[in-house]
Amino acid sequence: MTAVVASAPRRGASWTWRIGLALVGLHVVVGLLTLVWTPYDPGAMTGGRLSPPSLAHWAGTDRLGRDVLTEVMIGSRIALQVGIGAVSIGAAIGITIGIIAAFATRWRDDALAATLDILIAFPTLLIAMLVVAASEQASLGTAILALGIALSAVVARLTRILAKRVIQTDYVTAARVSGSSWLAIVREHVLPNIWPTLSVNLALQFGLAVIAEASLSYLGLGAPPPNASWGRLLQEAQGTVYSAPFGAIVPGLALVSLTIGVNLFADGLRDLADPLRRGRG
């Protein structure tokens, strides 16, 4: 029954997708590992200050003598928490608004679209900073919420455009003629058809959220200590970057590897989510 699909070549399993999966998988494994084990106690002063990489400290120590590798590993978990949290919030808000706009009457849709365009004109980071500033105190949760809200405008605009295109198709008209409610149309036709494009975009937003959180933390607006965000590690290592470069290089590599991994993974995801592409190879 699925012979036709199964025999088609799977473009999703391309080598770039494998690399992406491996990089993301590495961070997931490391992030989960930190829940039960880290090389040293996080925050503990375990050696000499600013010591170079050694067998005891693979990535050296920072200016307080903390193990850099331990901090960077915890950073993986924080980055994944931020990415998953921010993208979930952004997707929930953005998809809802986008779908409502796509189905709304003309002037309501115009009003929503104009609002979204204005919101998108503000840099994501600026919106996130405003949300953090408006909250009582900086915490990991606030940073995630702020980034989620900031991302939602982009998601909403994309959802609206994609959903509008689906709504105009004959199969949606046919479903309406046969008496489908708009909620049923959203569930059965709109969401599955916008998902291949939307999921790729959400994966890209994941990468952007990780970078944005690092930026927030770098500015001191992200997760406060003891959360070892890569952004905070980079900021702390800034003053000693010439004498002890590893304090900056290792969190930097971690940040780059996760974002590149997510982007490569997103490309593969598109091919997997779309049977049309899957079939054509």
């Binding site: 004959d170 046919a174 479903a175 003629v177 046969s178 008496g179 058809n193 779309d274 079939g279």
Partner: protein, 267 residues
């Protein structure tokens, strides 16, 4: 009682009438054709009848579908009305099917919706059996394979049969066929027309058949309405209209069709 009563229906866009004061009635069990060239307003008329005009177009006049007024009705009332009364088969069977849903499920969704509306309980196995029986009714071969295929994996003629099966799953009183054979090749066209004629007869459905193609219409309907630039120029039983056309435009259409037939015959 007439199933569909259209009186003074006009469809306007930015103050211009695209359909102008169209009136006709369709009795239960009758088969009516609307013919005209593209831009004549025939498809817009059909769209207005089920209350699905694209945004920016507004309809005035009166459309009584199974005793309910469509013009000016709320979307909620229309949703209930449309499913129970009318179903549509579109011109292009590729765009009429959801590209990401296996065709068996597409037919199944419509069937399940119809059952739910009728308040009949049903299980997964019932749906499967119903889908296969609908596929059998529209003469789709290898139901197992086709039910599991995506729309781009089957042929154009098969896609149109799937679309017809979906319309059939609604058990509609009125079947609206909007140029259902235009996108198909000639052989498939003939088969699809024969299938439609058989199903309409078997189920006692009322048919509204929209086409620009005279021979196609002549073979399947009892009565025709000829439209041009948004107005009805001629109406009557199909034999009478084709034998003694009173309007110059109908004569033009007939002459064009004959010339085309001769050209085909000579080739």
């Amino acid at each position: 009682m007439s199933l569909l009563k259209v009186r003074d229906l006009s469809v306007a866009a930015r103050g211009r009438n695209l359909v102008d004061s169209v009136s006709f009635t369709l009795d239960a069990g009758e088969r009516l054709g609307i013919i005209g060239e593209s831009g004549s307003g025939k498809s817009l008329t059909a769209t207005a009848i089920i209350g699905l005009l694209p945004p920016g177009l507004s309809a005035t006049g009166s459309v009584l579908l199974d005793g309910h007024e469509v013009i000016g009705a709320r979307e909620g009332e229309l949703t209930a009305l449309r499913g129970a009364v009318a179903a549509t088969v579109f011109q292009d069977p590729l765009t009429a099917l959801d590209p990401l849903m296996r065709v068996g499920r597409q037919i199944g969704e419509v069937w399940e919706r119809t059952e739910r509306r009728a308040g009949r309980p049903h299980g997964k196995g019932d749906t499967r059996a119903a889908v296969f029986s609908l596929m059998d009714e529209v003469s789709l071969p290898e139901p197992e394979r086709i039910a599991g295929a995506f729309p781009h994996e089957i042929s154009g003629g098969q896609r149109q049969r799937v679309a017809i099966a979906m319309a059939l799953a609604c058990r509609p009183k009125l079947l609206i066929a909007d140029e259902p054979t235009t996108a198909l090749d000639v052989t498939t066209q003939k088969e699809t027309l024969a299938l439609l004629a058989r199903l309409v007869a078997d189920h006692g459905m009322t048919l509204l058949f929209i086409s620009h193609d005279l021979p196609v219409v002549a073979g399947i309907v009892d009565r025709v309405v000829v439209m041009r630039t948004g107005v009805v120029v001629e109406e009557g039983p199909v034999r009478q209209v084709f034998a003694t056309p009173t309007h110059a435009y109908t004569r033009e259409l007939l002459v064009a069709a004959e010339r085309f037939d001769r050209a085909l015959g000579a080739a």
